[in-house]
């Protein structure tokens, strides 16, 4: 494909070389209308080759986007996703990731919220009973207190059974909720593939644009984008390879204490 894309430009370069020779010949022989004709031809050829290149690139970029398919369309939408552009589709898919992870996190926290009081209840009942059990071992209980303890232990055992069952079920729900990792992982992998694909085409577009620039003599001002920390960067990936990013709370604490915190 890259040969196909570049060939128009090579042709154009040859045309410029030949044209230049012809131009010189015409000027030397004093044939200025012939010279101007060549200049016009070159100008036209320049436009044509530029538009051809852009056309080819647009098509290949469009192909890359059109090629983007995710099998599990029914995961997110009602099947109309095929009609939307694939970039919109990819964006929908990423929204699905946000929604799914958020739902899983909330469900997990719901289960934790439900489990904490159950565990606390078990704990406090066991502590109460243990106190009186200790007195029983010390033979420090009245017969009435003993009969009372006897009943309470029976109630406690029934409740402990019930509470443990509740905790067990809550933990299982939390476990199952982690299935989001599989679903979102699949979606992210697909979107990642699209990005890689588009990137390859874009790099190619930049390369061809560079060639067009060199032919047409256009120069661009190099202005590097200022790094704006204010907007934030999100979580650092690959921290180990970036000396500007701190790896742990300890490093943050060290830095802050070096600043007098």
């Amino acid at each position: 494909m890259s040969n196909e894309l570049g060939s128009g430009l090579v042709e154009f370069e040859n045309l410029v070389k030949d044209g230049a020779k012809g131009l010189l010949d015409h000027i030397e022989t004093g044939d200025f209308s012939g010279a101007i004709k060549i200049i016009q031809e070159l100008s036209e050829a320049r436009h044509n080759s530029f538009y051809n290149e852009v056309g080819l690139l647009t098509r290949s970029l469009h192909d890359a986007i059109r090629d983007f398919q995710i099998d599990s369309v029914d995961l997110v939408s009602n099947g109309t996703a095929h009609d939307a552009t694939k970039i919109t589709d990819a964006s929908d898919r990423l929204n699905y990731v946000i929604e799914t992870t958020s739902a899983a996190a909330n469900k997990t926290m719901d289960m934790v919220d439900k489990s904490v009081p159950v565990a606390s209840q078990l704990q406090s009942q066991a502590r109460e009973l243990r106190k009186d059990w200790g007195r029983l071992i010390q033979r420090d209980l009245t017969p009435q207190e003993f009969r009372d303890l006897y009943k309470r232990i029976d109630v406690f055992l029934a409740e402990a059974d019930e509470n443990a069952t509740t905790l067990h079920s809550n933990l299982n729900t939390i476990l199952l909720e982690q299935g989001y990792q599989d679903l979102t992982g699949q979606v992210i992998t697909r979107v990642n593939d699209l990005i890689r694909d588009v990137e390859v085409k874009l790099v190619h577009l930049v390369a061809v644009a560079g060639r067009v620039d060199s032919i047409s003599g256009i120069e661009h001002e190099e202005n590097e984008l200022a790094h704006d920390d204010t907007r934030g960067h999100g979580p650092a990936i690959n921290k180990q390879n970036n000396p500007e990013v701190l790896n742990s709370q300890d490093e943050v604490d060290d830095l802050l204490s070096s600043l007098g915190f």
């Binding site: 920390d229 934030g232 701190l246």
Partner: protein
């Protein structure tokens, strides 16, 4: 003690809210970025601010600067809880007058430690 939790993700707000509740701070309010947080702060009942950095609208560092620039709000302790971990950003937060900086993902122990440290300092300054 009324604490304002500012984060654009509701799950993170919920995590922080639950951890704060475990630490005994039950009176919390939430906002999803600096723009919605400022009016709550200006209403004047907030004693402590916990904020993320990276948020749409007004970011956490902008909120911190706005708080420090406001005559009525400037003494409110601010704890930043964020995934932003660049050296320059932490220095910028320190210069803007942050009271504590916790990087995500964080532990309950780290959050507790920073909050306690902030209160120790405030008590010592009294």
């Amino acid at each position: 003690m009324k604490i304002l939790i500012v984060d654009d993700f509701s799950t993170m707000r919920r995590i922080i809210k639950n951890l704060l509740r475990d630490l005994g701070f039950t009176n919390t309010v939430e906002a999803d970025d600096g723009t919605t947080a400022l009016p709550i702060l200006q209403a004047g009942t907030i004693d402590f601010l916990v904020t993320d950095w990276n948020m749409p609208g007004m970011t956490g560092i902008e909120l911190l600067r706005a708080v420090r620039a406001d005559e009525k709000l400037k003494t409110i302790p601010v704890l930043m809880v964020t995934a932003e971990a660049k050296r320059d950003q932490i220095i910028a937060a320190a210069q803007a007058g942050v009271n504590g900086y916790v990087v995500k993902p964080f532990t309950a122990v780290a959050l507790k430690e920073k909050i306690e440290k902030i209160f120790e300092r405030i008590d010592a300054a009294k």
